[in-house]
Assembly symmetry: C2
Homo-oligomer: 193 residues x 2
DNA sequence: CGCACTCTAAAACGAACGTTCTATTCAGAT
DNA sequence: ATCTGAATAGAACGTTCGTTTTAGAGTGCG
């Protein structure tokens, strides 16, 4: 028997916040939007998140962190070859973007940029997320035999380029930036073999 | 005699909007913030921009477009070698970021992401900007002898990676992502010689 | 001077914001 | 059955939002 996992109010609120912030950022996402999207009331929101909007945003960014990390891990584990694995990532991101009508880009970028240097809690959470994602790529490269420093640097550029290409693709509503980035990153990785 | 160019109210408003949107995005930037920063009144703002906040934001993005294009052009013209020129770009971006205490990233990215798929005017202006910047890089590569299709694709990845690295650097308050991206992009370009 | 026009000033609008508050529902333990 | 504490519901607070409106300077021209 298939049982759809009953999800609690608290988690519904976090998920709704994450999705809304992914699409319109932190400032444009109102608490009433959130409570409507989460099918919860304002009272519930403040019951679970006494720290208000800011605390909720931090939690939502952490949710987006693990969400993106899961996607990344799944794509990276698909093939042994790290260059091919990165191409798999770009493809995954491209289809996700297209299927959401170019609405769902990186779950945390917008909020991260809005808050950089102005809302320490949110910036810190975003910083942790990026570090987390870089770690996944770095470990994959290490396991494939790349030297530590090479893997470290490549991981930086892989994440930066994925982020930039995702944004370019979203703004121009085209998969091209991601497709091209995938090919180029694979070529760059292969150049270090 | 040195005369500081008297700048009109209209341009002060556009510049203030551009800077504020660069730092905190579209939604978080209020018209009263803008009028204060521009040393103008709301009456002046609505006199020059009858279309209100949206029209003003489009103008500010166009301003950020040419601002970033000027920086890009200057760095690209510094050396004949396109790979070195890209490294010069990353250095320029890194010092700009550091000197602004990590506050002034890409002037349009935040607003572009906030509005992607939701505010057509702004998305279009952002799309034009990215296309403009890619054109500058593509032309540079073409002039250096790269084939049309290679230059086209490289321009995509150069802009995507610059954008992503700029964002990573801003969020982690470190020049490392930009420095590493510069080295990798130069290597990628050289691999097509 | 008087007229026309551009620009600035400041007050005021309803709507929406984040937040607080009080009341109520509802299990589970005693 | 009664108490308790978590969870929910919804009204209300003071602010700030984008926008509109009305009035007042400043300037050039006949």
């Amino acid at each position: 028997m298939v049982t759809t996992h009953e999800v609690g109010t608290r988690e519904r609120i976090v998920r709704a916040t994450s999705r809304l912030m992914q699409r319109q950022g932190y400032a444009a996402t109102g608490l009433k939007d959130i409570s409507r999207e989460a099918e919860a009331t304002l009272g519930s929101v403040y019951h679970f998140f006494r720290g208000g909007k800011r605390e909720l945003a931090v939690e939502a960014i952490r949710y987006g962190d693990t969400e993106f990390a899961d996607l990344l891990r799944a794509a990276l584990d698909r093939t042994d070859d790290p260059a091919e694995a990165i191409i798999a990532c770009t493809r995954e991101l491209a289809t996700g973007l297209r299927e959401s009508d170019w609405l769902d880009g990186c779950p945390i970028t917008t909020a991260a940029l809005e808050s950089a240097g102005r809302v320490p809690d949110i910036q810190r959470a975003a910083e942790d997320a990026f570090e987390n994602w870089r770690g996944l790529v770095r470990d994959k490269l290490r396991r494939s035999g790349f030297a530590e420093d090479v893997a470290h640097d490549l991981a930086h550029t892989v994440i930066s380029t994925l982020e930039g290409a995702e944004m370019s693709a979203q703004v121009s509503q085209s998969e091209a930036p991601l497709e091209i980035a995938g090919r180029h990153l694979a070529r760059l990785i292969d150049s270090y073999r």
